[in-house]
Symmetry: C2
């Protein structure tokens, strides 16, 4: 029997713990965690993400400062906004919703955020610290996956972990976290040959390719743990992951469902990072 790893339930539990921490922080230090959200343009998916983040923040007691900017905003204006928030001691986290319109250089913008306020963990210096096993700020999706492992008491130590996908947002930081956790890690991607042979030998498979239902029951060994980072809309409107869940069911020991697995954890981790940054700001004052 395959156990479904319930990201909704765990994220709820974490958010409730965060709510208590926020309450305590306000009582003990008079500090309300503040997250700046910058969004440019009207991308429909981004609007949903941003709304979800705002709602999660509100429930926890994190104040969000929303900057919904028009499509034609200049890069310089966004940079100046970020510089201001970088300087403002009342702001603990800054989030720029991606993608940005084509005329704006995403790297310039995300790299302008002060690393200490980089809640997404996308700044090169934060990525470097993570890669060197001294993390300061972590990309939220990989961090959420590590929390799922902890909750279900699955230790990656000495396990063979195959990660499919090498993006800066998921695959690479996931690999770094797994190396740091003593797993033997293989990073596979679009140029990998004989992928199925690799995944068949893995104790843990993490799929982040954006290819609907690419991993099937034939690709894994009995009792493997399968983490599905995908979120794809089929032509018939159905939402599916990168894993063919029906054929995996009964073979894997654990599986994250889509929806309700990795997705909810990402937002919970974003919130956790904001609260941690706010807590650190108190310590730094002492």
């Amino acid at each position: 029997m395959t156990v479904l790893m319930d990201g909704r339930k765990l994220s709820k539990k974490i958010k409730e713990q965060l709510r208590v921490r926020v309450e305590k922080l306000e009582k003990s230090a008079g500090i309300v965690p503040r997250l700046v959200v910058i969004m440019v343009g009207q991308d429909a998916a981004s609007q949903i993400y941003v709304r979800n983040k705002q709602q999660a923040a509100k429930k926890i007691g994190i104040q969000t400062i929303d900057n919904m900017l028009p499509e034609d905003t200049k890069e310089e204006e966004i940079l100046n906004l970020i510089y201001e928030y970088n300087e403002d001691p009342n702001i603990h986290g800054i989030l720029v919703q991606l993608p940005l319109p084509a005329h704006i250089n995403e790297e310039n913008v995300t790299h302008a955020i002060l690393p200490a306020k980089d809640v997404d963990g996308f700044h090169p210096v934060n990525m470097g610290h993570l890669f060197m096993n001294a993390p300061h700020s972590l990309p939220c999706t990989p961090r959420g996956i590590m929390e799922l492992f902890k909750e279900y008491e699955i230790s990656p130590k000495s396990k063979n972990v195959v990660i499919i996908g090498r993006s800066n947002i998921v695959g690479r930081p996931m690999a770094a976290l797994m190396i740091n956790a003593d797993a033997t890690v293989t990073i596979a991607h679009s140029k990998t040959l004989n992928l199925s042979k690799l995944t068949q030998q893995a104790d843990i498979v993490i799929v982040a390719t954006g290819q609907p239902q690419m991993l099937t029951g034939e690709d894994i060994k009995k009792d493997a743990v399968v983490i599905d980072v995908g979120m794809n809309r089929l032509p018939n409107g159905k939402l599916v992951g990168d894993v063919d869940q029906a054929s995996i069911d009964g073979i894997a020991s654990y599986l994250t469902p889509v929806p309700g697995g990795v997705g909810p954890m990402t937002i919970a981790m974003l919130m956790k990072q904001v609260v941690e940054f706010a807590e650190r700001s108190v310590k730094n004052d002492c």
Copy 2:
């Protein structure tokens, strides 16, 4: 027959090319590349390394500014020295010879170097850029290995590469370079189980463990490429790598000898980075 990859010959060729570039740079822009070397204490091995670097620099036309500091130098003094060189436009690269005495925090010191003058590529922001596939400055040993691949026309694309060792100096940056070069990369280490089974499936094995002659002919498949980063002194005084070269000979298609393989490439890459930094300083002036 196993081809020995001749790092001495290739490093000589590269250093000769660098000499020409340095000559050109001086003629066209009046700039002499300048490398600051900071060494603290009297570590015997470090003294040899530093001397080798100075000699290589001299031959190429790179000027070295040597700071041989006494064992009891305070961390603050070293930091202040680095800050001065960071500001000095006539200095293109800064190198701190490791290890440092125990009372000095190596991280504080190496992270104080301006990333644009970080010839070793050890600064987190440089490591982050490398990991995110937009490298600015590269750790010298992994870079030297990539040059050997290029010279012998071995493409890592779609190859199964197993890297044994996960240090910040070799294993991790090597993994990043190989992922960026489209290889399927497995990072193994002291917590890996069934290492031999992994290496037997690899097209390329890179060993950086510091364990004398740990990889033998039984651990690799026929015609694998084997890169030996090790440099160990046996009790009988003999210098050996992490690979048992005698038993690999005849099975591997390519092998880097110890000495004379990876070692000479590391210094050549350090020199290359100094020259590149000096060349960039001209472009930045325009």
